[in-house]
């Protein structure tokens, strides 16, 4: 007797016609929920950890200042000197009046450099600042 293999009559393929739609939806989600990476960070730093921290609601208002392990200061894409901070931040404050300056300073820095930057910021009236910190687990 000959056995015949029974095969299901239905097609054994996963329908892929809606795949682009699904992927586009994913894409849209990412486009809406993320912001573009703007700068390359040139300095090395480790952020301090803290508990009572708050989120910055509007990311477009933030302007960053990095201070690395060796004390270099970076604004935008460049390493800058202390006396250049004033003019740069003044321009930023003119562009965005309610700018929030976020300090991304290495944990082992001295306060001296932070104080100097703060004094520069006070001179140009960019007085809203934020010490960037990670949430302690």
């Amino acid at each position: 007797m000959k056995f015949q293999k029974k095969r299901a009559a239905t097609k054994q393929e996963i329908p892929t016609s809606s795949m682009p739609d699904i992927v586009f939806m994913l894409l849209l989600f990412f486009m809406v929920s993320t912001t573009l990476r703007e700068v390359d960070v040139l300095v090395q730093y480790t952020l301090p950890e803290a508990e009572a921290i708050e989120k910055i609601e509007n990311k477009r208002l933030i302007s960053y200042i990095w201070v690395g392990t060796t004390g270099q200061i970076q604004i935008n894409d460049n390493l800058v000197n202390m006396n250049e901070i004033g003019p740069i931040m003044y321009q930023k404050r003119v562009d965005i009046p309610e700018v929030v300056v976020s300090f991304r300073v290495d944990v082992n820095s001295d306060m001296g450099i932070v104080t100097d930057i703060q004094q520069e910021l006070r001179k140009v009236d960019a007085r809203r600042i934020n010490y960037s910190a990670r949430l302690r687990q």
């Binding site: 682009p20 301090p48 803290a50 306060m111 001179k123």
Partner: protein
């Protein structure tokens, strides 16, 4: 005459087989080029620049002077304390000033030396912020039965009015 055969396609269609691949490529691009992480940190408003040193004196009773010196000692009103103790110390003092008029609320003044470690400074500020957050939460719980973050605008304004967060950075001394 040679007859030119017209190649007539019946249904002209754009091939969609590779659409998924294209979409995936776009998706990958956005995954790589964007950041999701939320910025968190300790917010603060710097004091206005002062021309001279004509600072208005603040009564001792109103002020909590926090000094973090270069050896890593933390002094609250001249007494050495450990960093985790800042919170409880301040909570008491903030709570005692909830019902006083606006002009005599507590002012926390934070001062550092040039050689102070940045991490210590952040830890101390964190303690101060934590103290305010706890007092606000306790007050909100008592008055509105909700945590501070769950209050509506009007209520949270009232709480902020009663317990304003006044953290002042002390004027740095000129370098000797």
């Amino acid at each position: 005459m040679v007859k030119i055969k017209k190649n007539k396609n019946k249904g002209a269609e754009i091939p969609t087989g590779s659409m998924a691949d294209i979409a995936f490529l776009l998706l990958l691009f956005f995954l790589v080029a964007t950041v999701i992480d939320v910025d968190t940190g300790i917010g603060l408003v710097l004091p206005e620049p002062v021309e001279d040193t004509d600072v208005t004196p603040i009564s001792k009773e109103r002020m909590a002077a926090l000094l973090v010196n270069e050896n890593g000692d933390v002094l609250l009103d001249g007494k050495v304390i450990a960093i985790p103790q800042i919170k409880e110390n301040l909570i008491e003092r903030i709570t005692s000033k909830i019902d006083v008029p606006k002009k005599s609320k507590l002012v926390v003044s934070v001062k550092t030396d040039r050689k102070t470690n940045y991490n210590l400074y952040i830890q101390s500020l964190d303690q101060v912020n934590g103290a305010y957050a706890e007092v606000r939460d306790a007050y909100s719980m008592q008055t509105y039965g909700q945590k501070f973050n769950d209050l509506n605008d009007e209520q949270s304004r009232d709480v902020k009015d009663k317990i304003p967060k006044i953290v002042s950075l002390a004027e740095p001394e000129s370098v000797k």
